[in-house]
């Protein structure tokens, strides 16, 4: 795939969406205080966002829901490795082994 110059604009916008939340209170100091309820609710944003990206990627093949597909099996292997061990490399090794094993070994 080839990307045009608008890709750089997207980078800058994502950069702003990254740096502004991080710098917010450090730069503003104690002049502004976020409501406690909002702070508590926002804690769920990263988990919800990560799952909203990962789950469709694992379950959908060509816009069809597929309960059994190599990506889902590989994703489950990665989840199991991440739950059981703290070593950050193992989910990659397990996940990619399952994915490539199913694709090349069984032609899925």
């Amino acid at each position: 795939m080839n990307f045009d110059a608008s890709l750089w604009l997207i980078f800058i916008l994502i950069g702003l969406a990254t740096t502004l939340p991080r710098a917010s209170f450090i730069v503003l100091g104690n002049r502004v205080v976020l409501p406690a309820t909002l702070q508590r609710a926002l804690r769920y944003a990263p988990a919800a966002a990560l799952a909203a990206i990962v789950v469709p990627d694992l379950l959908v093949v060509g816009n069809e829901l597929q309960a059994l597909n190599p990506k889902l099996a590989a994703g489950c292997a990665a989840v199991i490795a991440a739950v059981l061990w703290r070593n950050p490399w193992l989910p990659f090794i397990f996940g990619m082994t399952v994915l490539l094993g199913l694709r090349f070994g069984f032609g899925l």
């Binding site: 080839n2 994502i14 969406a17 917010s24 209170f25 769920y44 909203a52």
Partner: protein, 234 residues
């Protein structure tokens, strides 16, 4: 550079050094994931320097690859970065007496690991120069390590055949970030509801399903937390 800045910097650097090893696989995968998405090495390094955020970079890559609308990419990046508003509020008192330019730099370099390492000392120590050193030394070190290792990942990917599906490493990386978060029950509920709604609503126009999924997940996690607190009090 004052001697108190240097002594803060030395202490902060060595407190963070062992933790920083964990950045290496991330940065390597980040580099590989950007190339697998179809970026040129220059574009990949450009994103890495401009954005400097593992989660927001990895999370937006599939959307960029799918040519999703720009506002959706931005909203997703914001959602993935929202926790830093809370971190920023928590660590802000540590920057009393620090200049505006240094505050912006510190904000740009704020990461999960640096936040976790620096928070306590930043709030306890009295000397603003010592505090700034204690924050900036590990922050700049993680920036450097992140850029160098991502570059290694970028260059290594050129030697790996396409049918190895390396882009799936980005999905695994997101899973590795998600799993420790979801160990707490309301967080797990937020993830399950967010993931399920985004999957079911995937045919909404403009990929709105992702945003609806995120909002549903936040609401579900928040509701679950309130319910469990009420049942504890009862």
């Amino acid at each position: 550079m004052s001697s108190s800045f240097r002594s803060g910097a030395r202490e902060g650097f060595f407190a963070f050094l062992p933790l920083s090893v964990g950045l290496i696989p991330w940065a390597l995968v980040m580099g590989m994931a950007m190339i697998s998405t179809g970026f040129s090495p220059l574009q990949a390094m450009g994103m890495n320097v401009i954005v400097f955020a593992g989660t927001a970079q990895l999370g937006t890559l599939p959307l960029i690859a799918a040519e999703a609308p720009v506002w959706l990419i931005i909203m997703t990046a914001l959602a993935l970065n929202l926790r830093f508003v809370i971190f920023s509020a928590a660590i802000a008192p540590g920057f009393r007496g620090t200049g505006l330019a240094e505050r912006w730099l510190a904000g740009h370099l704020l990461t999960d690991g640096v936040f976790a390492t620096c928070l306590d000392k930043m709030l306890q120590h009295d000397d603003p120069r010592w505090r700034l050193g204690y924050f900036l030394a590990p922050a700049l070190w993680s920036w450097l390590l992140w850029q160098v290792c991502a570059l290694i990942g970028i260059l290594a990917t050129a030697y790996i055949p396409r049918q190895w599906s390396l882009e799936f490493m980005a999905t695994i990386a997101l899973i590795v970030l998600l799993v420790p978060m979801a160990r707490v029950r309301p967080m797990l509920i937020a993830a399950l509801v967010g993931g399920a709604s985004a999957t079911l609503l995937r045919n909404l126009p403009l990929r709105l399903g992702v945003i609806v999924g995120i909002c549903a997940g936040i609401a579900a996690g928040f509701a679950a937390e309130n319910l469990s607190q009420r049942s504890k009090q009862a």
